[in-house]
Symmetry: C2
Subunit: 241 residues, 2 copies
DNA sequence: GTCTTCGCTTGATCCAGGTCAAGGCGATAC
DNA sequence: GTATCGCCTTGACCTGGATCAAGCGAAGAC
């Protein structure tokens, strides 16, 4: 009991409180007792960009929560062509409940902190805590909406619209460093190659479209990573949102 | 009680048994009592192709199950460009739980029979029947997988691969009329314009690719609608599945 | 019968974005 | 210092699929 109390008051709840603060975390749906139970099997990891968290060839035996950084969900054709089918920001949940395998690879796009736990523990808890299942259901529905939004982008938008849509997405989901009166700054969490794979374009086209936005005075780019958008409304109009 | 029994034994259960038979139906997750309760508010409709079942501009106040036919989920840009982001076959569930509005229009692609019921009734039942919530969760996850598969198609496949992927999809999900030793026949549930909107192409390109498959001896087309695929494996190879 | 409409195909031409190639620039290695 | 590497940009050229245009055939309308 002393030990449980110890765990409860020290490491895990702090970690999980950060999930709870936002909408998509798993931990917020659990009772303190369940948190302690889960904490026994929880590992908090910090990984480098490029680290594969879940491979499409493996069977899935663990779930994770993103605590910081960005994770990309990638699908690959036999000949190597790739498509990023989703970006997971903190505190998103990573995993495919109710299935042993997934055809998706989850890979750290930036430096990432994750909180991982075995599939079996959480699957057991879903039965015990309806609120938890409900939260996962809500995230699945949110992700479905996002995926379908992006299908419209991939199927029908021009390169210029896609790049503007991407910047708009990051401006909304990433951590803004500065924001005032429609002006907003942020760091791109993806390389040009990743952006291309997300937008169904080539790196050259992405680069050219960013240059165009720069020359048209909508954005500035520093060190290839740091973006300032001067007028979000104008960007939205370019994105055709 | 006599009336309830009456309803229970006549119209509704027969209707719902057809849902129950497959995996995605809502009704199979309900107790007989709940079925009767739901049946009070249920309307079974038969609609023409082109009928809008859910409009993206309205607030959603009803759910539906597809009993027969195909429903297309469409997203539209302000300038009229369209993308079909999903196809619903019997006994799929149509609706967006836990949200008042959706940015998607659901429209009958073929003649369709649906079983519609008010959102409020079902939302109440989700709380009472965990099995029902679970089923809806499973369908959401399935649809998410499908949407992400299609994102790969839209972002990275060529026109030839897209058309082959589409035929492969219909061969799997549609009702096959004949099937033996890799040969399979079916009716296309979509017009060329719909196929184009599903694949992110133009009708001309779809037409040309179908002609190419025909000339290459992989398929025959009768009356623009009826397709016979001679060798599903060869089609899969063209689709790069 | 003719006329119109709708869904589809086919051909000719165009262009957005892909491909190929060269070079810039900052970071790390030696 | 210089060399190498990774990431990005820019230019020149090419091509897959879009666009424009014509026509076909089946299904009503009259």
């Amino acid at each position: 009991m002393a030990i449980r109390q110890d765990i409860h008051n020290s490491e895990i709840p702090a970690l999980c409180r950060s999930c709870e603060a936002r909408h998509r975390g798993v931990c917020g749906a659990l009772t303190p007792e369940q948190l302690v139970e889960l904490s026994r099997h929880t590992t908090k990891r910090k990984v480098e960009p490029g680290t594969v968290l879940v491979s499409d060839s493996d069977t899935i035996d663990s779930y994770a929560n993103v605590l910081a950084g960005v994770v990309k969900l990638v699908k690959t054709l036999p000949d190597g062509r790739q498509q990023i089918v989703g970006l997971q920001f903190a505190p998103d949940f990573i995993g495919r409940p109710f299935k042993q395998e997934s055809s998706i690879t989850a890979e750290a796009a930036t430096a990432v902190r994750v909180c991982a736990f075995p599939k079996t523990s959480l699957d057991r808890m879903i039965d015990q805590a309806p609120e938890l299942g409900h939260r996962l259901h809500l995230q699945a529905l949110d992700e479905l909406d996002e995926a379908r939004d992006w299908m419209l982008t991939l199927g029908r938008k021009t390169a210029a619209e896609r790049v503007a849509s991407f910047l708009h997405l990051i401006a909304r989901h990433g951590d803004p460093e500065a924001e005032s009166a429609g002006e907003i700054s942020f760091d791109l969490p993806l390389t040009r190659a990743d952006i291309a794979d997300f937008l169904g374009l080539t790196i050259e086209t992405v680069s050219r479209q960013l240059t165009k936005l720069r020359k048209d005075g909508l954005i500035t780019v520093e060190n290839n990573r740091h973006i300032t958008v001067f007028d979000l409304d104008r960007l939205e109009r370019r994105a055709n949102i």
